[in-house]
Amino acid sequence: MTLFGHRLPLFAKVGLAIVAINLLVAIFGPWLAPYDQSQSVGDTWAPSSAQMWLGGDQIGRDMLTRLIYGARMTIGIAAATTALSFLIGITLGFTAAVLGKWVDVALSRVVDVMLSIPQLIFALIILGVFGSSIPVLIITIAVLDSTRVFRLARALGMNLTVLEFVEAARLRGEGLWWVIRREILPNAAAPLISEFGLRFCFNFLFVAALSFLGIGVQPPYADWGGMVRDNAPAINFGLWAPLYPALAIATLTVGVNLLVDWLLSIDARPSGAQAEM
């Protein structure tokens, strides 16, 4: 099996399979789920049975159904966040690189200060002020995460703006947008794609952690981090209930990481030392 003209090693195949399955479940969830997400069908933490493969949750809803609906919520929020973060980060990063001078200095200093507060702590501060809702969650994490994308995009842009073809485009009198879109972006695409995978993982874990802390996605929506939190008391009876959603989170991040690891390794081959960036 080949992808982008490269043979896939075993670990990359495993990663690809995990990501594909998760995406399918997230998209087709409601048709796959055996029950409704808010329907109580058994006892609290019912043991697994033919009707409820993974047993029940803390109020007797079907664990498998909740996991399937949770995939949609958790993966959807992480994907939306990462997309928004890349939009902001790439635009500002390339703008800083192309314009240089005070624009670059101003943006870079703001990012430096934002990066000197740990991301989770920063998110807690913002959510503490605004309260938690899904739009606030997405915008907060996206803005915080865009600082990292900014750093990468700026570094990539800096290396590209000094090249002749960008110079030529500028001398032709092309505007800022044209230069960013037609000259810089296509040449920076490869490292940005693998970065997208890493940032997605990070944001996905971040959303899960916030929901686990009770300040992310709020009930009645099913999401994996919140499910771990809600089912946590079961652990004291030696039950596995909170481990299923935690395992789902862990599997997806491992899968994406395996895939990204491989992408980075094929990305590194042609230009050697570039991979470190």
Binding site: I125, V129, L247, I249, A250, V254
Partner: protein, 315 residues
């Protein structure tokens, strides 16, 4: 060199000032009114006015910022909105608890992570290196709470050696404290060690591919000697920054881990305040975490200036 270090320390102080301003802007100046958030929709305009005056919200923002900063520098973080108690009195013992947990984890994780990292760089490509690569990749990919719950299932339920809740209280003996905090510390150790191992390995390997290391090999030196004399002294700088990064990561990891094990630290206090929307407490905890973070980074920079003679002269 002292001048360079002083400059770096000064830069750290400026960063901290900027961070405090940013936290203040986020909590006070952004739209959203603390008074109406606390009093709820039933509040009358009269109530709101009195409450705002009580909080000093009727003053301009920059005056409130300097008042706040002045208070913080004197150890006064204001009062909690929900229980009216002095924040510093609640924050201080929790801060010590968090510091205890983080140092407990750091003491175990730093030698383990750096040591194993160097070891797996030395054994690059062998089975043990590839094995540790996969194990650490899994360990850094999974959320902290997953590691925490697995440890609870194994070490507190299946083999009831450690308590699953890390309840510490004042007047507890040091040995008992260590025992109770073992599971949360172990969770942090696993996650941080894996990350440190990977970063140390890659920074040692990047030094191993430099021309002077190749030269040392070509001179006929043994592998151990090349590594001990040529590679490691140059890897010290990057390794120090890795350690600092991971200690900073520990500070954040602590928030989640404290909530898994119901450990009475700053992280739990902050999350609690966030869900109650107790802004002054959130502000205070945020500032504490950010200060520790900035402090660690500054210390790491100064340490790498000291170990690397090439950084001592500003270019």
């Amino acid at each position: 060199m002292p001048r360079l270090i002083a400059t770096r320390a000064g830069l750290g102080a400026i960063t901290l000032l900027a961070v405090s301003a940013l936290i203040f802007i986020c909590t006070q100046i952004l739209p959203g009114d603390v008074a109406s958030a606390v009093l709820g929709p039933q509040a009358t305009p009269e109530n709101l006015r009195v409450f705002r005056q009580e909080l000093g919200l009727d003053q301009p923002a920059y005056i409130r910022y300097f008042n706040w900063l002045f208070g913080v520098l004197h150890g006064d973080f204001g009062r909690s909105l929900t229980n009216e108690r002095n924040i510093i009195e609640e924050l201080w013992p929790r801060f010590l608890n968090t510091l205890f947990l983080a140092s407990y984890a750091a003491v175990l994780a730093v030698p383990l992570g750096v040591g194993l990292g160097i070891l797996s760089a030395l054994r690059e490509g062998r089975f043990s290196d590839r094995f540790s690569n996969i194990v650490t990749l899994v360990a850094i990919s999974v959320p902290e709470f997953f590691v925490g719950y697995i440890l609870i299932i194994v070490l507190a339920i299946d083999f009831p050696w450690f308590p699953s809740l890390a309840t510490v209280f004042e007047g507890m003996g040091a040995a008992e404290r260590l025992y109770v905090a073992t599971l949360p510390a172990l969770t942090l150790v696993l996650v941080v060690t894996a990350h440190m191992l990977r970063m140390t390995r890659s920074s040692v390997l990047s030094i191993m591919s430099t021309p002077y290391v190749e030269m040392a090999f070509l001179k006929g030196l043994t592998r151990t000697r090349v590594i001990a004399r040529h590679a490691l002294p140059n890897a010290a700088g990057p390794i120090i920054s890795v350690v600092a990064l991971d200690l900073a990561y520990l500070i954040v990891g602590v928030v989640v881990v404290e909530n898994v094990f119901v450990y009475p630290g700053v992280g739990q206090y902050m999350v609690d305040a966030v869900s109650k929307r107790d802004v002054p407490v959130v502000q205070a905890c945020g500032l504490i975490f950010a200060a520790v973070f900035v402090g660690l980074n500054t210390v790491a920079d100064i340490a790498s200036i000291i170990v690397n003679p090439r950084l001592r002269h500003p270019r």
